[in-house]
């Protein structure tokens, strides 16, 4: 826990204070990480989001048809995706794919003395390794979430259009009418908070690996479990704050 707080403080220093002392972070490594964390995860995110959109529409149809309220299917798909399923499911994918990879990569570097070598070369590991990953994650997870929301809505449309004989314009209008911008923004805020949680837990696990290959394995698994738990608890807290307190 102490290490985790230290990592967060040091991260804040390198992002918020260091640029004003002339130590601006380099752009190229951030883009490399963005491609790895974000762009390469896009197909997986698309498949997941499409399946979720289809599932939501089918479940909604099942329940709402008995009430004669099929016209509300787009509302349900849209709001559920924007507020909950989008941010949470895409965070789950990114934890499994990118969070674990970051923990394993940094852990292997720690075990093979690479982190120590950086320190001895007067290169701060947080500045050199954590900052690019952090910024990339903070940009790409919300971006993936928006992308996933689109695809999920597309999945809902596919069910409505081909199984329930909605017309496309009707689906789009209904979906857009139901959601307001806060639904989208709340999802984006969640997504950014999840990004913070995922990448700091992964980096912290990697940088504190001890004990060779076995340690790397444990740190990787540990980081996935911790990130999942922290993300789900934080989701409940944020939903409480955004939609339940007022």
């Amino acid at each position: 826990m102490k290490n985790y707080l230290q990592l967060n403080l040091s991260l804040l220093y390198w992002i918020l204070i260091a640029p004003f002392t002339g130590q601006f972070f380099k752009i190229a490594p951030i883009f490399r990480q963005m491609v790895f964390i974000g762009v390469r995860a896009a197909p997986m995110v698309a498949l997941t989001a499409f399946s979720v959109g289809v599932t939501l529409a089918m479940q909604a149809a099942h329940s709402l048809q008995s009430l004669g309220a099929e016209m509300y299917i787009p509302d349900l798909v849209m709001i559920t995706l924007l507020r909950e399923m989008g941010p949470v499911l895409i965070a789950v994918i990114v934890i499994g794919r990118s969070g674990s990879a970051v923990a394993a990569e940094l852990g292997t570097m720690k075990v093979s003395e690479e982190i120590e070598a950086l320190e001895v070369m007067a290169i701060n590991p947080v500045q050199y390794l954590v900052v690019p990953r952090f910024i990339a994650m903070l940009v790409m997870l919300p971006a993936l979430t928006i992308f996933g929301n689109y695809i999920g809505i597309l999945g809902g449309w596919a069910v409505c259009r081909f199984a329930l004989n909605f017309n496309t314009a009707g689906y789009v209008l209904r979906a857009l009418e139901s959601a307001d911008t806060w639904d989208l923004y709340s999802g984006m805020i969640k997504s950014a908070v999840f990004a913070w949680i995922i990448i700091t837990i992964a980096c912290n696990a990697g940088l504190n690996v001890e004990g060779g290959a076995e340690g790397v394995g444990q740190a990787t698994t540990g980081s996935v479990v911790q990130a999942l738990l922290a993300m789900l608890v934080m989701n409940a807290v944020l939903t409480g704050i955004f939609f339940f307190s007022a």
Binding site: S112, E113, E114, V120, M121, A122, G211
Partner: protein
């Protein structure tokens, strides 16, 4: 002993304990500019721990280490970073960044700490690679070259900023005899020609006697002997004679006790379940 020149490293009464065991017990010595100090001793005698204290990556239990006249044991991380720009370090495994190519590894300190242009950096990388006999290896990844080559690239990287002081952890282990001679010659050229100071941890005696201007032998966490290579070679101390001639019998104990070893590795002793089952029928 070489008393000329400025003192670059002063180690005074350095003590480092892991648990109850003192891995380094009251070590004091100085290194002067232009010297090549070889620290030798058996495996697990605290050589690498001593080196880690000198580069500021471990804090002593008590005692001080001064580098370039400044005490690094009391420094904050940011101040240590400034001192670290003045020395290079070659790790035992090379410690190259696996995600970067050989060329990028050597360029890394230059990119991070200098304002040199891409062309200048490329030129320096070429020159450093040529120095260690690996011309044309810029674009390979560390995973594609042998252990000995990695070590030579590690040396090129340590020399990238033309440091005043070079620390080497086992620079010649894993190299063939010819390459060992090449690395030794390189160290000699740097110390004699460029007046670089070197601190080398080694148990390769041929190489040690070839490059050293002064030697320290560690044993049981303290200094067993120190002096010029000639003084060490003619030392009456039986431990020194056993070590430099590599004799299996002598005053140096063959086995480290399990307890001591565990403390040193900072691992809590773990009961070995197998033993209980295996010996159960003998000791019911």
């Amino acid at each position: 002993m070489n008393a000329n020149g400025e003192t670059l490293i002063e180690v005074e009464h350095l003590v480092r304990r892991f648990g109850d065991r003192a891995v380094l017990d009251d070590i004091s010595f100085n290194v002067h500019r232009g010297e090549t100090l070889v620290i030798m001793g058996g495996s697990g005698c605290g050589k690498s721990t001593l080196l880690r204290h000198m580069i500021g990556s471990m804090k002593p239990t008590s005692g001080t280490v001064k580098l370039f006249g400044k005490e690094i044991t009391a420094m904050k991380e940011r101040e240590i970073e400034r001192v670290r720009l003045r020395f290079g370090m070659l790790f035992q495994s090379g410690a190259l960044l696996a995600s970067l190519t050989v060329g990028e590894n050597i360029a890394l300190p230059l990119l991070q700490h200098t304002d040199k242009s891409g062309d200048e950096i490329e030129e320096i990388v070429k020159q450093k690679l040529q120095m260690v006999g690996l011309t044309g290896f810029e674009d390979l990844k560390p995973g594609e070259i042998s252990g000995g080559m990695k070590k030579r690239v590690g040396l090129a990287r340590a020399l990238a900023l033309d440091p005043e002081l070079l620390f080497s952890d086992e620079p010649t282990s894993g190299l063939d005899p010819i390459m060992t001679a090449v690395v030794d010659q390189l160290t000699l050229n740097l110390t004699k020609g460029s007046h670089m100071t070197a601190v080398v941890v080694s148990h390769d005696m041929t190489s040690a006697f070839r490059i050293a201007t002064r030697m320290i032998m560690l044993g049981h966490g303290s200094i067993v002997a120190q002096g010029t290579p000639d003084e060490i070679r003619n030392s009456p101390n039986p431990e020194v004679q056993q070590f430099i001639h590599g004799q299996p019998d002598g005053p140096i104990p063959l086995n480290v006790s399990q307890e001591e070893h565990k403390d040193h590795q900072h691992v809590r002793p773990r009961p070995f379940l197998g033993a209980r089952f295996r010996f159960h029928h003998k000791h019911p």
